[in-house]
């Protein structure tokens, strides 16, 4: 999955003239009193969150792998191994959507959005705007669909599978969510670092 970073380019030489005003406005915001400290705090907060998520991911993955080993111990190696995974073409059960970063927003939009258990969703393609709409469902229907998708994903190992394997699936799901949060947090602190770096460059000028 390719990561795209939308970081404002430094220096005015490479930017088209119509964006010079926007760049100047942003520069004026940055030069306001306390702006640098605010950027430093944002950077440190993002970095701290990233490290916390990293620790959380490590423990979640450790738990997930142990639950998988426990399920193998319970079911036997013949019933739970990689040679049972389905090689037939089928839609992805989980997708990652990359959205554009809103540089003017105080609370930056997430760059990476995880959409879990979407293989059964109705997707209507809008040919004009090239965007996608998703049909609305009631919350109860969501739970049923998610449960069905989870069961379908595990059905490669059989229908009567132990609770340990289902627990392992949930743990790996949590780990995936944490990974996406980490990706967003990383993008955030890289952006904060870039802004801080620009601030320092502007100060030197």
């Amino acid at each position: 999955m390719e990561e795209r970073h939308f970081i404002p380019e430094s220096g005015g030489d490479q930017e088209p003239p119509q964006e010079a005003v926007e760049v100047e406005n942003r520069r004026e915001v940055r030069l306001q009193p306390g702006a640098e400290e605010k950027l430093v705090l944002q950077f440190m907060d993002s970095l701290n969150s990233y490290l916390s998520l990293s620790h959380s991911l490590s423990s979640t993955l450790g738990q997930a792998w142990m639950e998988l080993a426990s399920a193998r111990h319970s079911m036997g190696t013949a019933r739970l191994n990689t040679s049972l995974l389905d090689l037939k073409f089928h839609p992805a059960s989980t997708t990652l959507k990359i959205t554009e970063y809103d540089v003017d927003s105080v609370d930056a939009k997430a760059w990476f959005v995880l959409r879990k258990w979407v293989s059964s969703e109705e997707v209507e393609e809008d040919e004009d705007s090239n965007s996608t709409k998703f049909s609305e469902r009631a919350d109860d229907d969501d739970d049923v669909v998610v449960r069905r998708e989870r069961a379908k994903s595990l059905s490669v190992f059989g229908i009567l599978i132990p609770p340990k394997l289902r627990a392992a699936q949930l743990s790996f799901e949590r780990a995936l969510e944490t990974l996406v949060e980490m990706a967003n947090m990383r993008s955030r602190f890289l952006y904060s670092f870039h802004q801080l770096h620009q601030e320092v460059e502007d100060t030197k000028e």
Binding site: G62, W65, M66, A69, S70, R72, H73, S74, G76, T77, A78, R79, N81, S83, L84, L85, D86, L87, K88, R147, A151, S155, V156, G158, I159, L160, I161, P162, P163, K164
Partner: protein, 351 residues
């Protein structure tokens, strides 16, 4: 006639009973498990196992080791012991020994059929099959599209043929059909094995009927718990329970309608032998149920060796070895994942 086996058993079974009791003495002890649980790496485990009967099977394995390698090599030891006993056995012991492997045969059939449904390579699937469950035409399973073809093309010439009468349909194979086929075959196999042991009579019938009844009851509980929240209907669930065992028939009627683990507990606690098992679990929890069942099974299997002149010692030895291999697999996983604090979650000591 029960009680007179001492006069005639040793004529045909004496040598092999001595062999299997010798093999039993080679099972790992608590001291061995304590040493293994303190290993820091899989190479340490290999070093400790080199002093046991698994030594010759692991000595040539190069580093780095993988947990599946340890399990495969230890399984070869079990297979060698079994084949030696089988080639020396006469009837009816040879048939009894063959019955022990039919469960693995069923697992292999389901593995091949499921893997083929998922468009996997047959050679890759054959490598994952249990060696005790192999038969000549097993690779031909990949060409069958439904159960009727499965039976007609391959299984009609195997010992599993009589078990197929209840699941022959022309429906195409899918995950649900395969699961029902697995459990229906295993149910028929257990019932057939039970009848065979009853026909043998004597101490074999007495001890094996207890062990097989426990197996049937454990299967019923696992099927119930694993089918909660699935598409399996109550009637279909009821049909998968064996027609013998302590829970048959009233316990099965109650288990068929259970919707959560606490209802299963309420049913099982009415039966004294299973009260102690469920007493070890907290309410709503099923994680330790497997270990509790394995501990009870090991206790019963060890008791089989307290009597002489019967065939149940062979069954008990095979099952104890399989439990030992499961223990080694769990210890290896905990060491490989650096989670040694979880080692005692699933290790069942035999002695």
């Amino acid at each position: 006639m029960y009680g007179f086996e001492a006069m005639t058993f040793n004529i045909h079974g004496g040598y092999l009973e001595a062999i299997v009791r010798g093999h039993r003495a080679g099972l790992l002890t608590t001291a061995d498990y304590n040493n293994l649980c303190q290993c820091e790496s899989l190479d340490d485990i290999k070093m400790h196992l080199s002093a046991t009967e698994y030594g010759p099977y692991l000595q040539n394995e190069p580093s780095p080791l993988h947990t599946t390698t340890i399990v495969e090599k230890c399984t070869l030891k079990l297979v060698d012991d079994y084949k030696h006993m089988l080639c020396q056995a006469t009837e009816p012991l040879s048939t009894f020994l063959e019955y022990i492997t039919y469960g693995h045969m069923i697992d292999n059939v389901v593995l091949i059929v499921t893997g083929t449904l998922h468009e996997r390579d047959v050679q890759e699937l054959l490598e994952k099959c249990h060696p005790l469950g192999m038969f000549d035409s097993i690779a031909t399973l990949a060409v069958a599209q439904n159960m009727r073809e499965l039976y007609r093309l391959v299984l009609v010439d195997t010992p599993l043929a009589p078990y197929f009468s209840e699941c022959i349909t022309s429906e195409d194979l899918d995950d649900m059909n395969i699961e029902i086929m697995r459990n229906t075959l295993y149910k028929a196999y257990l019932e057939d094995f039970y009848r065979f042991c009853e026909k043998l009579g004597g101490a074999t019938a007495e001890i094996m009927s207890d062990l097989l009844a426990f197996e049937a009851d454990r299967r019923a509980v696992n099927i119930t718990i694993n089918s909660i929240g699935t598409e399996l209907t109550r009637d279909d669930r009821r049909k998968l329970y064996s027609n013998f065992g302590l829970l048959y028939p009233y316990g099965h009627e109650e288990l068929a309608v259970c919707e959560d683990i606490d209802q299963v507990r309420a049913v099982m606690e009415k039966y004294p032998p299973y009260q102690s098992i469920f007493a070890k679990l907290s309410y709503g929890e099923s994680q330790m149920l497997d270990k509790a069942f394995y501990e009870e099974e090991v206790k019963r299997l060890c008791l089989a060796f307290e009597q002489q002149f019967h065939y149940a010692v062979f069954f008990a030895y095979m099952r104890l070895r399989e439990q030992e291999i499961r223990n080694l697999m769990w210890i290896s996983e905990c060491v490989a994942q650096n989670q040694k604090s979880r080692v005692h979650d699933s290790v069942v000591f035999i002695f």
